[in-house]
């Protein structure tokens, strides 16, 4: 008869399992907290607290009807909040709610393993949209934590300590890394999605806007976020030529510039004369949520799939391309060109249109320049001269403008940044009867000497004017170069503004910090290129290197799958060998026994009868000493070392080493 174990022991075992489960569940949901509606984490926390109180205070479990009701209400609210259960965000919210309810009713081993599995799946949901190397490292940490939980909670016996479990989890994860890499490279990638992916609500995407409204670009200009990176395959052009062309603003309502409708695509490019040496480069675009792509003025129509030349020479991705993904493309541009686009009279009217009431003082000013019937070139020159001659200031924090923003800027405040100047200059040109428009984009960029590419940040956003001349086509005029020539020549805000707030942090101006940031950015770029960007194209390129080129698709795939199987087998072999190696090493205790066996074998050779089953080493040694008196001292020493190495608590390796040495030199002679 045996009493059952004390009730408190099982209770505390249950509580410690629940603590572990709670830790894993909280860890796995952590990355989702910012995107979840507040009530979801609250529900989770309440469920955890409730269950723990049930366990520690021996309260009754919540009844089934209550749990069911709770589940229905929670699912209902998720459904109402997201209007769907498809998609990453709604799905994640649903999973977290499920976790909370599962935790509330969890009773042991099986329920806890289910929770671990949902934890892995939640981490996976984060990874569907995550990109950065830091996020990946953070998630790898959480995967490690979840794996510790898996190893702990899959135990049926009492839980182990944190340390051995954490070590084991780390070891098994490290052992699975080679297979992960092999499968990552080799598993066949599909070019398109399997089913329609509902768009994620990427709120507040920064970047250039659809409109230009002098005053709202201030916030953008101060953002240090990266817009894209560009790597030149030929000699990079100087900063003053690095105008990265973006959307063009044609329509003006007196206050706001906006884009015209889709006008012409690639046909306009046919009329362009490309002069001088081509500049070839690669652009790695960050996620923007728009289908705009950027290229140096003036790009040739791109040959890359999925990219086209849209209105006003702006590169765009095809509508089908999923937004919110990074884009990597190659383009050829010519920094000297003649964009000889013929404009119809209707188009000329479009590009000279000004709202009748707007900017009376500017019109007055321009009217004065027209008296001697100047050529268009002279008019542009007069405009620039006028800007140079007046006390204009380049600033990132201009004063607010009123009813007639252009007039107020040109004659009263005279403080502004690129959009103010581009807007005012375009209005002046239109007032003079010249077709003109605003081009927005980026100017300059910063060289990352480590990675060998340029980083173009949101703070490099710029706007300039294009004027159409009958014989020269569209000519770029940057009024900012008249006011703040440094801005254009350096290709950066930095240095252009004396003593003013410069984009970027104070840290960003310390030289070694800047260098470290460059190294980090280069690493992030490689990460983006080789890990995040590893898709069907890169896989194809890589496999072509190892002799896959020219194979039909079915054969490529079957070969790839075969390689995956091979990698799995190789991984298996590797793990087996590692495990066998770990298991092979005997403990010191057994080594001592083996040494002693060798010693006994040598004695047996000189007719010392083998040790009987019931004979201890000391009794055996006494018998051996009597039989071989000449070796008595040595036998005594060996037995003493053996007893120390094998039976002493905390036996050190010295005892074993001594035993080994003594046995090795033990050569007893027959008495």
């Amino acid at each position: 008869m045996k009493l059952s174990a004390p009730a408190t022991a099982t209770l505390s075992a249950e509580v410690s399992r629940l603590h572990w489960t709670a830790a894993i569940v909280l860890g796995a949901t952590l990355p989702h907290w910012p995107t979840l509606p507040t009530w979801v984490p609250v529900l989770l926390a309440v469920a955890i607290a409730w269950r723990l109180v049930v366990a520690t205070r021996a309260w009754p479990m919540p009844i089934r009807t209550l749990r069911l009701l709770l589940a229905l209400v929670a699912f209902g609210v998720v459904l109402v909040t997201y209007r769907t259960i498809n998609g990453v965000e709604a799905g994640s919210a649903l999973l977290v709610v499920m976790m909370a309810l599962k935790f509330l009713e969890s009773r042991g081993y099986r329920d806890q393993l289910v929770l671990i599995m949902i934890s892995y799946f939640l981490l996976f949901a984060t990874l569907l949209t995550a990109r950065g190397p830091l996020t990946a490292a953070y998630l790898l940490f959480l995967i490690w934590v979840t794996t510790i939980g898996l190893l702990q909670l899959s135990r049926r016996g009492p839980l182990l300590g944190l340390r051995p479990t954490a070590e084991l989890a780390g070891r098994v994860l490290l052992q699975s890394l080679p297979l992960m890499v092999a499968l990552f490279v080799l598993f066949p990638r599909l070019p398109g999605p399997l089913w329609a992916v509902p768009g994620t609500s990427t709120s507040a995407t920064s970047g250039l806007g659809d409109t230009v409204n002098p005053g709202d670009i201030t916030s953008l200009a101060l953002s240090d976020e990266i817009a894209f990176r560009a790597q030149f395959l030929s000699r990079p052009p100087p900063a003053r030529d690095r105008y990265w062309r973006g959307p063009t603003m044609t329509n003006f309502d007196g206050r706001t510039w906006s884009m015209s409708g889709e006008r012409r695509g690639e046909r306009v490019a046919a009329s362009t004369e490309y002069l001088g040496a081509p500049t070839e480069y690669r652009v790695m675009l960050e996620t923007s949520g728009r289908n705009w792509a950027f290229a140096l003025d003036m790009p040739k129509p791109p040959e890359q799939r999925g990219l086209r030349m849209g209105s006003d020479y702006q590169l765009r991705t095809f509508p089908g391309t999923p937004r919110g993904t990074q884009l990597d493309y190659r383009v050829v541009s010519y920094t000297s060109y003649r964009a000889l686009e013929p404009l119809s009279p209707a188009e000329q009217r479009l590009f000279t249109r000004l709202p009748p009431e707007s900017s009376p003082r500017t019109r007055e000013l321009v009217r004065g320049w027209l008296t001697d019937d100047p050529t268009p070139e002279q008019l542009i020159e007069r405009g620039m001269d006028w800007l140079r001659s007046q006390p204009f200031f380049y600033t990132l924090s201009p004063p607010a403008l009123g009813e007639q923003p252009v007039d107020e800027f040109l004659f009263d405040t005279r403080e502004g940044f690129c959009e103010h100047y581009a807007s005012a200059f375009t209005v002046m040109m239109r007032a003079a009867g010249l077709p003109a428009r605003i081009v927005t984009g980026y100017q300059g960029g910063e060289l990352n000497g480590v990675g060998g590419y340029f980083i173009i940040r949101q703070s490099d956003a710029h706007a300039w004017t294009e004027v159409w001349l009958a014989d020269k086509g569209w000519v770029r005029v940057d009024p900012v170069s008249a006011v703040a020539p440094y801005r254009v020549a350096l290709g950066s805000w930095r240095g252009a503004l004396e003593g003013e707030r410069v984009p970027g942090t104070v840290l960003g101006r310390i030289e070694w910090v800047r260098r470290a940031l460059f190294v980090w950015d280069a690493a992030a770029t490689y990460w983006n290129e080789w890990v995040i960007g590893y898709g069907p194209e890169l896989q194809r390129a890589l496999l072509d290197l190892i002799g896959f080129d020219g194979l039909p698709r079915a054969e490529r795939w079957s070969k790839l799958l075969l390689l995956c199987v091979g990698a799995t087998l190789a991984g298996s072999l590797l793990v087996t060998l590692q495990l066998a190696w770990r298991r092979r090493r005997r403990t010191a205790i057994d080594e001592a026994a083996r040494e002693f066996a060798t010693f006994a074998k040598r004695l047996a050779r000189i007719d010392v009868a083998p040790r009987a089953a019931a004979e201890g080493p000391v009794a055996y040694a006494t018998r051996a000493q009597a039989r071989v008196p000449r070796a008595a001292t040595e036998i005594r020493a060996i037995v003493a070392a053996y007893l120390r190495a094998r039976y002493e608590r905390d036996a050190d390796s010295a005892a074993l080493a001594e035993l080994r040495a003594r046995v090795a030199s033990f050569r007893p002679a027959r008495a």
Partner: protein
């Protein structure tokens, strides 16, 4: 899969393993060729989850999603090898089983020994849907476990087969091996209800001696069913949870003869039951006794060894076993 079908499948697999492995000695080191492994139900669900992850990654073209999917696939593979390796090289030794009375559970003691440098975790022994453990076995350590087998009749009860099982680490896989050691446990007859007094020793012709009662305490022995409750050592039970019977020196008491032929009114098994009861009573009273049953005559004796010999004779009486 219905439970009955699963059991039948397992029985079939086990008998196949018996044919290919042969009988085992009382100590075996588990070799690669006999450690089997299959995913658990949790492992199958885990695989389904990985497949869902793979589909999701393909759909979203998410590189990091692929990474986690393949990391978990690698993890499952690694855990499979760890699970297999957790049994590999372990030594399973039969320690033995103490005799029990029919109706009690025979407890086979089996030791798991780990002679490698790495610890072994969560090793279970499983027999007929019952399992013992799990236990962790440190490097160089040996842990013993008990498999309980219900008994119904006297004679030998055999533990024909048991499984050594582990699900460590992760519970995704179940690695096991079947062990067929010739393990058996002696089952004494179930003693009859107490009440019938010990027979007089007339036939032995020994002179009577004054009865000094139960006064001379001689020691403790393990209690058996039917022992008089007033002689249970309750204080000792409070100390160590084992029922012990107080024994008293009784060499001075009348010896008795326990004879098969003295109980003609009882059927054969009932006679054995009554004789068993008498053996226990006599031993409890510390009287020496002789036993005479078909096929065995045990001369007058006393003490635990004599009792064990008598009970064994009773257990194996006319069973054709030894």
């Amino acid at each position: 899969m219905p439970l009955a079908a699963a059991r039948r499948l397992e029985g079939w697999a086990a008998s196949w393993a018996r044919r290919r492995q042969g009988a085992d000695p009382h100590a075996v080191v588990l070799k690669r060729s006999r450690v089997y492994i299959l995913p658990t139900r949790f492992g199958v669900v885990f695989a389904a989850m990985m497949f869902a992850m793979l589909l999701g990654s393909l759909n979203y073209g998410a590189s990091l999603g692929f990474m986690l999917t393949f990391l978990l696939a690698g993890l499952a593979l690694v855990l499979m090898h760890h699970c297999h390796g957790n049994l590999l090289g372990a030594e399973i030794k039969l320690i033995g089983a103490h005799p029990v009375f029919a109706g009690q559970r025979a407890e086979f003691r089996i030791a798991v020994r780990n002679d490698t440098a790495a610890p072994r975790y969560e090793i279970e022994l499983s027999h007929d849907r019952h399992s013992a453990g799990p236990v962790d076995v440190a490097p160089g350590a040996e842990v013993s476990l008990r498999i309980a087998v219900p008994t119904e009749r006297r004679g030998w009860v055999a533990l024909e087969r048991f499984a050594v099982v582990t699900r460590h680490p992760g519970g995704l896989f179940r690695a096991w091996t079947w062990v067929h050691m010739n393990a058996r446990c002696l089952v004494y007859p179930q003693p009859a209800r107490p009440g019938r007094p010990l027979p007089e020793s007339a036939g032995l012709g020994l002179g009577g001696r004054p009865d000094r009662g139960d006064s001379d305490f001689a020691g403790l022995r393990a209690a058996a069913p039917g022992d008089p409750p007033q002689r249970i050592a309750w204080k000792a039970f409070a100390r160590n949870d084992t029922l012990l019977l107080k024994q008293f020196a009784g060499g001075d008491r009348e010896p008795c003869e326990l004879d098969w032929d003295a109980l003609p009114e009882l059927a054969a098994e009932a006679r054995l039951a009554q004789l068993t009861r008498w053996c226990l009573d006599a031993a409890a009273e510390a009287r020496s006794f002789a036993l005479k049953i078909p096929g065995a005559v045990l001369p007058l004796g006393a003490g635990p060894q004599h009792l064990a010999a008598c009970l064994e004779a009773l257990a194996l009486c006319e069973t054709g076993e030894r």
